[in-house]
Amino acid sequence: MKSTQRMKYLAFIISVLCMTAACATPPPISVDEALTAAEEEKLLWRQAQEEQQVLDDSGWLYRDAESETYLNEVAAKLKAFTDSPDISFNIKIINDPHLNAFAFPNGVIYVHTGVLARMENEAQLAALLAHEMSHCTQRHALRLLKSLKDRPAHIAALQHALEKMAMIQGLARILGVNGSMAAVSGYTREFEAEADRVGLDLMAKAGYDPKQALNLFEHLRQEIESEGIKEPYFFGSHPSVQQRIENAGLWLDTQYSGGDAGIKDSTIFRSRLNRLILDNARLDLRIGRFMVAQKGVEKYLRLNPNDAGAHYLLGEIFRQHGRQGDIKTAIRQYQEAIKLDPLFPEPHKAMGLTYFKEGERHLAQKFFESCLLLSPDAPDKAYIQGYLQRCIKNGEDS
């Protein structure tokens, strides 16, 4: 498909999806439609594979075998209780601090590091995966596609919906039709509600505590509110998360009588996704969400108090945030990092930069020298050498 045609199609699909959010559930596929459905599903899967290829080649994947294996192990536990043996689930992680996860119709699910880093236990992970897996087992992409064919009236709403589309156009261009539908707009309110119900059933059957689903969504909502998070993604949007909370609450009140007996597994979860929490905090710092990044590092440090890299990162968060008193806190964190690992060059560089800007050239010189000694081939050594020369010249002049 030519790119302009593809974009028009994408615009159409997303626009219509935006508008279908408030409409009735599309009808289920009847038996006599099954043959056509199978053909259409094949097409949908092929398209999904093409879109996944773009994502997989984008350089955005979080390449950590330990974390990825763990997520797939949890998905396998859940899969044993689905009635869709034809779908092979494959969970991949995207290096992105925003709150999101999305499923392609062929069972490939992408989860952002951002949402994983905010979870507390395996049951919360199971809740998110079960929701996403339910989109696949309930054939939401296919059912939606079929229902759209019968609804030309939706096209009338295109103009209004296109305004919304403009906000996510860049993202949609990369994610493709399926990815955008799953990641950004969600699959209509009714399909999302179905994924909530089926997902909660699934996690409960697999032995997990389904109340943890409610805890996860409550936690996400609190974070969205307290941090003023505004993201284009489904799980980063306040109305979507609020809807998940209401649906989970209703399901727990009416369908669940299992008490507190379910699996939570905080210890295993933390040990397997330990590093990811720190890596995600680095991403939050990159996008300038200082408070969120700080929370992430502090969460990691509670389990790994002697990690020099984490203390250095906390120092960077304070130094770059630059509020009153932050420089002192940053220096304390750098000193702690150097104490824990004297051969780690980064805190030496950071100390040098801090003192250089404070006009303490003599101290800056000491730290720039130790940084270059520890890391003679640092990628930014030309800067350090330049600042060091200025310190030396300053010393000679005075």
Partner: protein, 183 residues
């Protein structure tokens, strides 16, 4: 005599046009306070409202983009802000944060990050590559510096490898000719 006079006037006009073509300040973009010399063969596409020049019919294949942005203007992807107190290493770091968080930039890879002097101002130079969704690889040279309340950046971006090599010498001329307006 009259014929000679006409020839002289025409020659004079041609000479005047040629010199003004060699050093074109941005008179069509009056908000900018810098000037550059535009090498022969380069032009500004009509659809472009920004200061972007190219020598290809399809500008995305090879272009130079020059921007003066207020320090307090927000970036698209990072909430961090540039400030007058920042060292070039720090402003380069912020630009790298912005670029590496951009979801339209795929397979982002930094090849070089070094200090640079632009029109006498201490700044930075970043050389990086990235891929488009279709897998086409681009190489970009990004120069930047802070002066007063503005962040100036001069970027050369081109498809790899053919287009990049095609314009790099011209870009060096453009960069060398970059001047901030007096006052």
């Amino acid at each position: 005599m009259k014929r000679l006079l006409v020839v002289l006037i025409v020659l004079g006009l041609i000479a005047g046009c040629a010199s003004s073509a060699n050093r074109r300040s941005l008179k069509d973009l009056p908000d900018y306070n810098f000037s550059v010399e535009i090498p022969d063969g380069w032009f500004k596409p009509k659809y472009e409202k920004r200061y972007l020049i190219t020598k290809e019919a399809k500008a995305t294949l090879l272009y130079v983009f020059i921007q003066q942005r207020p320090l307090d203007r927000s970036f698209k992807n990072t909430q961090k802000k540039l400030s007058t107190r920042m060292l070039p290493l720090e402003s380069a770091g912020l630009i790298l944060d912005e670029l590496s968080s951009d979801r339209r930039i795929m397979s982002f890879e930094v090849l070089e990050n070094t200090p640079a002097i632009i029109d006498g101002h201490a700044g930075f130079k970043i050389l990086f590559t990235h891929k488009s969704k279709t897998g086409f690889k681009y190489k970009t040279l990004y120069y930047g510096f802070i002066n007063g309340d503005s962040f100036y950046n001069i970027r050369y971006s081109a498809g790899m490898p053919d287009y990049y090599d095609k314009g790099i010498e011209d870009f060096k001329q453009i960069l060398d000719s970059f001047k901030l307006a007096e006052g």
